[in-house]
């Protein structure tokens, strides 16, 4: 074979290699994008919605404790029960996945503390019981944020 022919073969091999590398790079980028989009839809958006709902309820409960606001205790309880049910359903769903796991798993995110605080809220100790429930809701909000951070794909 002539030198020119060898050079042509070498260039063809290099060109093929470059195409292969580029293909792998694109695949990897697409894979990452897919994971990021999936994470956003399955984990991030629902948890951000819960964080907002929890924080809104904390404000409403604080208002109730200060004899302000227009929501009564049964309405606040009902709202918490709705949030809690939806959140527990999502936490169970996420705990079944092997990807998107925060350190220690989703099962560590529990509504127990808030359940307890809201179940004992009463008119007699309105300010104190509202303030306790608000603190528990704030803690739950922080633990949701932390779990979200831990689970975020790199």
């Amino acid at each position: 074979m002539t030198v020119e022919a060898w050079a042509a073969v070498a260039s063809a091999i290099i060109a093929l290699g470059a195409v292969g590398v580029e293909h792998l790079w694109v695949q990897r980028r697409l894979g990452r994008l897919e994971t990021a989009n999936e994470f956003r839809a399955i984990v991030e958006q629902p948890l951000e919605a819960f964080e907002k709902a929890v924080s809104d309820l904390a404000v409403d409960i604080e208002e109730w404790g200060l004899l302000r606001g227009d929501r009564d205790l049964p309405a606040l309880r009902k709202e918490w029960i709705r949030i809690s049910r939806d959140m527990n359903r999502l936490v169970n769903k996420l705990a079944k996945r092997s990807d998107f796991q925060p350190n220690g798993g989703w099962l560590k995110v529990t509504t127990d503390e808030v359940d307890e605080a809201i179940s004992v809220m009463n008119d007699e100790h309105r300010n104190l019981s509202a303030s306790t429930a608000k603190q528990c809701l704030d803690r739950l909000g922080r633990s949701l944020s932390a779990a979200l951070q831990d689970a975020r794909p790199s």
Partner: protein, 109 residues
């Protein structure tokens, strides 16, 4: 058929059943350990003013049953069909949580 009436716990005063420890106490009150070894189906009924049963309560209430019977047998042993849909779902959520804990600890050991 045996019946577990949750009204014995709520006494028309409580609308939320919460807490693992309270679940464990309720389990003792209704003698679920002995009901679990009998052939009878156990029907769970609830008063109309009960709004929610939290996963932690369910976990305290049924943890020993799930380790005794397993998830599937537990779901046939206990009859939740007369409960309102929301309370039925509360039980299912708690039972799923128990089953996941059991799977995780089995995977670790």
């Amino acid at each position: 058929m045996a019946t577990v009436d949750l009204a014995r716990l709520t006494k028309n005063e409580v609308s939320m059943l919460t807490g693992h420890e309270r679940g464990v106490q309720a389990r003792a009150l209704f003698s679920l350990d002995s009901l679990d070894v009998q052939d009878d189906v156990v029907r769970i009924v609830a008063p109309t003013n009960l709004d929610t049963i939290t996963p932690s309560f369910v976990q305290g209430f049924l943890a020993r049953s799930i380790s005794q019977l397993g998830r599937d047998r537990l779901l046939t042993k206990y009859d939740f069909s007369t409960l309102p849909a929301a309370l039925r779902e509360d039980f299912v959520t708690g039972i799923e949580r128990l089953a996941m804990h059991a799977r995780r600890s089995a995977a670790i050991h």
